[in-house]
Symmetry: C2
Subunit: 148 residues, 2 copies
């Protein structure tokens, strides 16, 4: 068992789940703020050097899990939960890649939020992907991503 | 406070931290197995459709944290922990992108492990990055990644 506490909270325009664009191919251009707790501010040093960040956060409003999920973009076909981004997963940890627009002390202004307002942040890491696009197969999301 | 339990464990050739290639630009081509607990097997349905997976795992052998970290590739210059992949972070959650080579029941054979043998796995998600390489700035890792 591992116990984690928030390092900060998301300020997002989304007040309810139904307003967040959903599905594996959804575009997320919405701006928001990652507001980090004052005690962790020294840990943000040098973060401005990265254009994109991984944000690990908790699906704090998810209740329980299903091993078989019904993605919103393909309702007719259920999928194993680990092939989806469903919030109803055994460990309700979420991952979002955001673009860092600017920092002001403990506030990171970012583009690409898909979290509800007030969502607890567990970790921030630099995004460094160097996997070429042409090497990726994206399973059930491929058709959705091509549409966008 | 959020409490998470392993969904499985990593089988890796790395028995000690010192044998794992370190640093933001390190290449990880090592093969290993993500052995998922039997009770979660239905959650793996359709995972074969993805070439790459996110693995969220616990730095279970890290003890405490530092807000200022000394990355192995740039020892002279300390960095904020959230600009690094240091295991000594407030919430010791790790993230690795692996290539899925094959699945046999609850065993996912993957390339790119950088975990110690026996590492607890917290979650698996499809990897879907569609951020073009030319849009990425990779801060202190840029020089390291160019070398590789």
């Amino acid at each position: 068992m591992f116990t984690f506490s928030p390092i900060g909270f998301v300020e997002s325009p989304y007040k309810e789940t139904s307003s967040i664009p959903r599905g594996l191919g959804a575009k997320h251009e919405t701006e928001g703020v990652l507001e980090i707790l004052r005690e962790f501010e020294p840990g943000l040093a040098d973060i401005e050097g990265f254009s994109h960040l991984y944000v690990l956060w908790a699906f704090d409003r998810a209740d329980g899990f299903d091993l078989i999920a019904h993605p919103p973009t393909d309702e007719k076909r259920p999928h194993g939960v680990f092939s989806t981004r469903s919030p109803r997963r055994p460990n309700p940890i979420a991952l979002t890649v955001v673009e860092l627009l600017g920092r002001n002390g403990t506030s990171l202004r970012v583009r690409g939020v898909d979290m509800l307002d007030g969502t607890p942040i567990l970790d921030i890491k630099p995004y460094l992907s160097s996997i070429p696009q042409e090497k990726l197969r994206r399973g059930l999301a491929e058709a959705e991503l091509r549409k966008n």
